[in-house]
Structure formats: C-alpha cells, structure tokens
C-alpha cells in the first residue's frame, strides 16, 4: 500500500513533463516537414511542374532515341522518371497542403488499374491474346507504337502484347490471390488450433511446418509441377503450400500471445467453451496479423507463379502469363526485340513493387505490437 501513495504525491510534479513529451511524439509523424523550414505551396508548384514535365520529356527521349547506347538510355530513363516523380510529389503536396507519399499513391494507382483491366479483360476491345491461327494474319514482332493497332507490339505468333499482358495479369492475380486465400485460411486455422491447444498438436504442427519450410520453394514447386497438371486450381493449391508455414507461424504466435491475455480467461470464467474462445475471442484478434502477412506474401506468390511459368511448369503458351511471356525472349529474341521481355518484365516489377508497398503499409497499420489494447 505505501507505494501507490508515494507515487501519487509525486504525480503532480512529474506528470506534465511526460504528458507533454508524449503529445509532441504523437504529432510528429504527420508533421515531418514542420521541422524543416516549410516551402510555400506556390514555390512547390513552380518547382514541381517543370520537374514533372522535364522528367517525363527526358524519360520519353531516352526511351525513343536511337542515338545513345543502351546503358545510357536506361540511366537517362531512370533519372527522368525519378525527377518526374519528385515533381509530381511536389505538385500533390502543393494541392493537398500536406506531404503525400507519392510512390505509394502511384503504386496503388497501378494496382487499381491493373486489377480493373484484368477483371474486365473479356469485355474490353483487346487484340488477339491466344489464338495463334488468327495470329497468322497479323505482323510478327511488330514494334510497340502507342497510336497503332498494336500499342505494345506483337510477339512471334503475331499475338497482341497488350492483350497478352492484361490476360497475363489475370492469371497471375487469380492464381496468387487464390493461393493466398487458401494459405491464410488453412495456415491460419492450423496455427490457431496449434497455438491454442499447445502440447502434442503443437509439436506435430511445428515439425510439419518446419519441414515444409526446409524444402526450397522452387524445388517444391517443380516437384509438384511435374506431378500435377498445370491449371489454375492446381497452381493455386501448389503455391498456397509456400505460404502455409508462414501463416501457421504468424497465427500460432499471435494465438499464444492473445490466449495469455486476461480477456480469454475472463471469457472462460463466464462459461465459454473452448470452441467459443477460439471463435469469438481469439479469431477476431488473430485475423488482422494473418491478413497483413497475406498481403505481404502476395508479391512473393506473383514472383513464384512467374518463375514456374517461365520454366514451363505453369500455365502453358499460348495462354499468356507474365512468366511464359518473358520466356519467349529466350534464344536471341530478347536481343533483337527487347520489348518482348520488357513489357511483361515491367508489369511484373511494378506489380510486385506495389504489393510490397501495400504489404508494408498494412503491416505497419495492423501490427499486433503497435495495436492499442
């Protein structure tokens, strides 16, 4: 009893200091720029606009010119894009009145557009993406030209690269999202049960999960690919195997942490059955971290699916996926017609990059450690 009272008398003197410190700490993240001398909106706009235009012009020049060697072109392109992005950031800041995470915004825009196109693909007036017979009437290896009938060019069967890229996105996204769905559900449930029951169940699950983790993912996929016929369903299931061990771990660790919280004991003390504890007390708390892990893993699965298709173990040509499109660059094709690889490569890069950004944000938001009780 003496201790609380001693603290209490000390309180009025000490309390304001930490409270004030906490206050500024809370404000800080939003006000990052407040520390620097703030640039006025007008200047931001005046600097930003030319940067955006100049950057885009530079990038455009680098992409189309025939004057420079490839390395210099790529360098110029990257510099141009970075400058343009910085300019766009300044403009956005000037318009919104606060700093904007422009990379994130661009990434999300890309994902939205991509998912929209992929979903709507059959309804869009797209070119021929998989009919090689029809392709006989089309030019092969047509260079990309934005205004033309083949904006991103054609491949060696005369199939339209834009249509193929969009249908490729469809496959990639369907397969990875289904795999994540299966992985989070199955892995999450197994992890929760293991973390809740502990004991023998937990040990068995732990051994199985570790065993699955010990097999190199690509080897596992190749092994599965040789046994299973490559269709969307089998690919999703095979890829979900890659995510299950991580999901089990996240779900298990979170379940163990939350199961020790008093609210679980409190629910038990008013008569909840174990099933109810799992469903009503633990599940709502474990869902968020598992789901955020899922978002993080989407990009990994997209890469895995592309790798499989590249190796010819995924969806087979002429059905397009980004992986088998990249594979079409083999045998000297890429040197002669770089766009054959650049188009699907860039799609893959941007998508993976964007999902990573999203995953990072989601995890920061839903991280159980920073979650308020």
């Amino acid at each position: 009893m003496p201790e609380p009272d001693i603290n209490h008398t000390g309180d009025p003197v000490d309390a304001p200091v930490p409270a004030a410190a906490a206050g500024t700490a809370l404000l800080d993240p939003g006000e990052e720029t407040a520390a620097k001398p703030r640039v006025s909106r007008r200047t931001q706009l005046l600097v930003g606009a030319p940067m955006l235009v100049g950057g885009l012009a530079l990038a455009g020049f680098a992409a189309t010119t025939a004057l420079l060697i490839t390395l210099a072109k790529v360098l110029l392109l990257v510099v141009g894009l970075l400058v343009a992005m910085n300019g766009l950031g300044r403009i956005a800041e000037a318009v919104r009145g606060k700093s904007v995470d422009i990379v994130f915004v661009l990434g999300m825009t890309w994902l939205t557009v991509l998912i929209g196109l992929a979903v709507l693909a059959p309804l869009l007036p797209l070119g021929n993406h998989n009919d090689a017979t029809q392709g006989l009437y089309a030019p092969i290896f047509a260079e990309p030209e934005l205004g033309s009938e083949y904006p991103l060019g054609t491949n060696n069967y005369g199939l339209d690269m834009l249509a193929r890229a969009i249908y490729g996105a469809r496959t990639s996204l369907v397969v990875s999202l289904f795999a994540i769905l299966i992985g989070t559900t199955v892995g999450g449930l197994i992890g929760m049960v293991a973390g809740f029951l502990r004991g023998a169940t937990d040990r068995v699950v732990g051994i199985l999960a570790n065993a699955l983790l010990a097999v190199p993912p690509l080897v596992l996929l190749i092994a599965l690919g040789t046994v299973l016929s490559p269709n969307l369903r089998n690919l999703s299931i095979a890829l979900s195997l890659l995510t299950i061990p991580s999901m089990v771990r996240v779900a298990r660790a979170n379940t163990i942490t939350f199961a020790q919280r008093e609210f679980v004991l409190a629910a038990q003390a008013i008569g909840a059955t174990r099933m109810r504890l799992l469903r009503k007390e633990l599940l709502p708390n474990v869902v968020l971290p598992v789901a955020s892990m899922g978002v993080v893993m989407v990009s990994m699965l997209i890469v895995a699916e592309a790798s499989l298709s590249y190796l010819g173990l995924g969806i087979r040509a002429p059905e397009p996926t980004w992986g088998n499109m990249i594979a079409e660059g083999e045998g000297g094709v890429m040197e002669a017609h770089p766009f054959i690889v650049i188009v699907p490569g860039l799609c893959l890069f941007l998508t993976v990059f964007s999902f990573n950004l999203l995953g990072e944000k989601v995890q920061k938001r839903w991280d159980p450690r920073s979650a308020k009780l």
Binding site: F263, A269, I270, N285, L373
Partner: protein, 343 residues
C-alpha cells in the same frame, strides 16, 4: 449473523496447487481451508506473489489438474466437487454459479469487441434469448453498474472507456447470469485511488442486493477493512491468520498481519512520516524456507520458527486462528529488540 444459519455455498478443504515448472515445483497454494455462506464476504489479503490469484482460480476450477499442475484437497461449490468432475461439468458452473472479476480491466475486455457484444454474447450463450432481449438486459446491467448513457456505451470499444468504466463493464459481465459466488481478484488494483472506492462500494452494494457470497482478494488492507465479514491473511501460499475482520484488524496476532497493518498509511499520521514497509522479499515458492515461511523476515523468529512449520491454532473469538509459534498478544514485546516490527 443470519448468514451463519445457511448452509455453505463454498467449502474449501486443505487445498494445494502445485505447478511443475522447469525450476522445480512451485507450491503456490499450500493447504488452505475455508467456508463461505450466501451473503458472506471473505477478504483474502497478502503481498504480491502470496498465491491469492492462484487460490481464487483453483477454487473456481479455472486451474485444475493437468500435465503441469497438481491440485489436491477438495473444493465443493454449490454441492459440486469442482476438481472431481469433468471439465464440461465444471464449465457449467462458470458464469452461473461462480464468476470472477479480474485485476486489470485494461486486459480483461477483448480489444476488438464492442462493449455491447461482450454482454450480449454472454447473455445469449447462457440464457438462450433473442438478440433483442439480450440487448435490453445488457442495457439494464450497465445501468445497474452505474454506467451513464448505457445505450451509447454499448457501441463503444474498450479502449474508448476509462479504467473505472471498464471495470464496471467487467462487473456487469460477471453478474450477467446471476452467479451465487463472486470472486473479485484485486478488482481495484489497476485503478485510480478515487475510482477504487466507487468500484468497491458498487461491488458491495450489488452483492448485498443479490445475497451473493463474495471473495474479495486484495493486497490493500484498507479495501478489505470495512467491506468484509471475515479475513484470511495469506503468506507464501499458506493461511497465517484468519478470523472476523474487525477482530483481526483490532488485534493482529501474527507478526506478518501486524507488519501489513503497520504499512497502511494513516491519515492521522504526521505528513512525511515514514511508512513501515516489510523488509525483505517473499520467499521463492519453488524452494520455500523450512519451518515458518515468514521466519527469515520476522523480528520475533527463533530456532523453533526456522525448523518447525507452525499450524493454524484456534484462538479466542469465532473462527479465529493463527499459524505462529509466538503469536503476538496485546503488549508483547518482540524477541529481537533491534529490528522491531511490532507496534
């Protein structure tokens, strides 16, 4: 007292809870017995780590025999041998026969569930009533525990409420299905001093209204003093002294009780007067000292104390007993005069 004529709702006989840990066996509760009748309130006091929470949970059956725990002795709750029946049977007692209020209202509510959900889920589970009925009953309960604007509060999440309000919600949940016994495990330790009294008064009123038996666990003797009929002082998993609260507090006979009482701040004390804390730490429960557990910290200890474990001996007064080789009698002086603990 009328309550003494009723048959006991809770009988605890020689209860022992041993945790088998990698460090060795922890005897968290080491032979405790008591009885409780409807309407009676028992105070359970002792320092942190003296086994109060473990005792409360073992009495409820939340802690029971499993791979890492051994419970011996007998707990009879509403006629059911708590540790002698299957888990499913025991579970049926929880919420309806016995309920618990926990120490920290910050962690005893689920952070992702609304206040209303906490209550209606419990009600619907036990009473099998419709959503609407459960909601009406929940509002009623919140009103009973003194929460203003209960309808609005139902939609809030725990983190939107103050500690005191949350503890009221926890109490409402515990009382939802009219249990006959309430175990309140330090219900106010995590709260502000001003809120502590309100919550304790609320608990007192509610349990009197419902003629419930209550176990009030606390390390705060002040909280127990005016609110319990009997008190049981715990040290290292054992009862060291028990009896009517007024009598124990008026004339403590165990040196530990005496020291605990001396460490309560008194309003009439001069400002800045030193409180007497008890020197030393509670013993390691995995490896308790032979003889009296309190001997190493006791100013009265002699060789008997370090070699023989004292058993509870009845004293004058109803249900009064003490486990000490040298119980303090009014005016007795300590053996070792240098480190004085007596008053």
């Amino acid at each position: 007292m009328t309550s003494e004529s009723k048959s006991p709702i809770l009988v605890v006989e020689n209860l022992r809870t041993v945790f088998h840990t990698p460090r060795g066996d922890v005897r968290a509760v080491d032979g405790v017995s008591f009885e409780l009748r409807p309407g009676e309130t028992l105070g359970l006091v002792g320092e942190s780590g003296s086994g109060k929470s473990v005792l409360g949970r073992t009495v409820m059956g939340l802690i029971s025999n499993d791979a890492r725990t051994t419970v011996t002795g007998k707990v009879t709750l509403g006629g059911v041998d708590v540790h002698g029946v299957k888990r499913a049977v025991r579970r049926k007692l929880w919420g309806t026969e016995v309920a618990m209020v926990f120490q920290d209202p910050m962690t005893s509510l689920n952070p992702v569930k609304r206040i209303g959900t906490h209550l209606t889920e419990t009600l619907r589970f036990h009473l099998r009533c419709t959503r609407k009925e459960a909601e009406e009953r929940a509002v009623e309960l919140l009103t009973q525990v003194g929460i203003p604007e209960p309808k609005r509060r139902m939609r809030q999440y725990p983190h939107e409420m103050s500690g005191g309000m949350r503890q009221r919600v926890v109490i409402a949940m515990a009382l939802a299905c009219d249990p006959r016994l309430l175990i309140a495990d330090e219900p106010t330790t995590a709260l502000d001093v001003t809120v502590q009294k309100q919550i304790l008064d609320l608990l007192g009123n509610l349990t009197t209204e419902r003629d419930m038996a209550t176990v009030l666990v606390s390390h705060d003797l002040g909280a127990v003093a005016g609110r319990t009929d009997r008190v049981q002082v715990m040290y290292a998993g054992r009862t060291v002294e028990q009896g009517r609260t007024s009598e124990v507090f008026a004339a403590p006979t165990h040196p530990y009780t005496d020291a605990l009482l001396a460490s309560i701040p008194q309003i009439e004390n001069a400002p800045h007067s030193l409180l007497r804390a008890i020197e030393g730490n509670p013993p390691d429960m995995a490896n308790p000292p032979g003889g009296c557990r309190f001997a190493p910290r006791c100013g009265y200890a002699d060789t008997t104390c370090t070699s023989d474990l004292p058993l509870l001996q009845p004293l004058a007064g109803p249900g009064r007993s003490v486990a000490c080789h040298h119980p303090l009698l009014a005016g007795a002086a300590p053996v070792g005069s240098e480190h004085t603990h007596g008053r």
